[in-house]
Subunit: 142 residues, 4 copies
């Protein structure tokens, strides 16, 4: 069953469906899920023009979107297997990611309670390992 | 001078430039600045398909993007007149905004210090006045 | 009924009970409630040695405690009249408050949903009106 | 040199000095530093009456104070060796800690830039390992 709702393929399909649905998630069309399951999801993306702010670096709004979506996918691989509804997202921006760089978005489920889930995300530069941003995401799942 | 860097027209031009630059800010192409100056910026947007998550409501990632950008425009109308660099964004999600609804994004500068600026954003439903989300945004401007 | 659970006297009694209970709220024994009701609570405090960090200014941990407690009192004056359980507290620190200064803690309830309440707090210097800190507080009330 | 500014003994001395200084840090008099150095600090505390809210569990304001102080001690063991000034503290509350329980406060420095430091804290139940709270702390160190 874990395989059914938690594997990398399952999560990549979700990204595909979401990004082709005509909504805001089209911004995630280049997101590649590299691992998933047991409350975790790891994805990668190469920073391209479409992801950047006017200064030529990864847009802070997209960073927040990655925190939102990749942690939600992590949550979907828990036993509850629900997406939930966002209550709070907090993002700290540590370092710019520039055009052409590969970033790794690493999300994990910290706790799933009866009504709330707590998720955590790190975004790093794939080559250097340097932290680009961290985020926490609280969702209502009751 | 305030007119030069703080008026509604100036801010609407910035939105136009940003959203036509080929980057992530294309997501803001339908944002309408309705007031600006003295550290404040008010913008409006009608929620359309392109702004929505797969549940058909305003996407939490776009909400965070609106917090980011509209508060940055508010900051640009202060005497410092700089965009700064994001340090932290915190968003609380209170109520969904659904397709066709008009939302008002109201940003204000709480404090501009020597090195840091603190900004605050409310997003409301234009018709009902109900809060959809609130955000705080800390920027480095040193 | 509002008078029963929302007045200034009622909230001051709560502060008294809490601060005399032998727990951590003893730190609030000098907190003076100046107004309360309809989801709001305003309190004042003079910064004294016992409230300060080793640098002689209002301790960031006490600032967070004030955000927690004064917003909880605001919540108790809503129709739900419950204290709830903290889910998330976010505090931005803008300016130091120094020994002898009077501070005003101004809390309001932004939204009470079925399961969650969203509260907001400003802490200002009473004399100058300058913002010392702002906070947001999310509570589970389900 | 690391030994000079980063060891467990050094940090325990700081806690002692701070908690005996007559200020708010007296609330930390029972905090035991168990490890420190290279941007990290681990401390432990047994939850007692003086740390509790009126519901008999670890007070959310003290939780925030622990995030503040233990992460600041972690920062003091980095090469910069400065305490900095708080810009933002964000705390997520996951589970109550009750009277008599031992908690572990685990702080690490995520990034020290030229002007800002980013710190992260986990608070867990020592026996069960369950997460009680997580926090992020941004400090200005310029």
């Amino acid at each position: 069953m874990a395989a059914a709702n938690g594997g990398r393929k399952f999560l990549q399909q979700i990204v595909k469906m979401m990004s082709e649905g005509g909504g805001f998630d089209k911004n995630l069309s280049k997101l590649r899920v590299v691992a998933g399951g047991n409350g975790k999801c790891v994805a990668e993306m190469t920073v391209e023009k479409e992801h950047e702010n006017s200064g030529g670096t990864l847009h802070g709004g997209l960073t927040a979107t990655l925190v939102d979506i990749v942690s939600t996918m992590a949550l979907m691989t828990t036993e509850k297997a629900v997406p939930g509804v966002s209550v709070n997202i907090n993002v700290s921006y540590m370092k710019a990611a520039t055009s052409g760089q590969e970033i790794v978005i690493n999300a994990e489920t910290l706790r799933v309670g009866r009504n709330l889930a707590f998720l955590s995300v790190d975004i790093t530069n794939k080559e250097s390992g340097a932290l680009i941003a961290t985020g926490s995401h609280t969702k209502y799942i009751g």
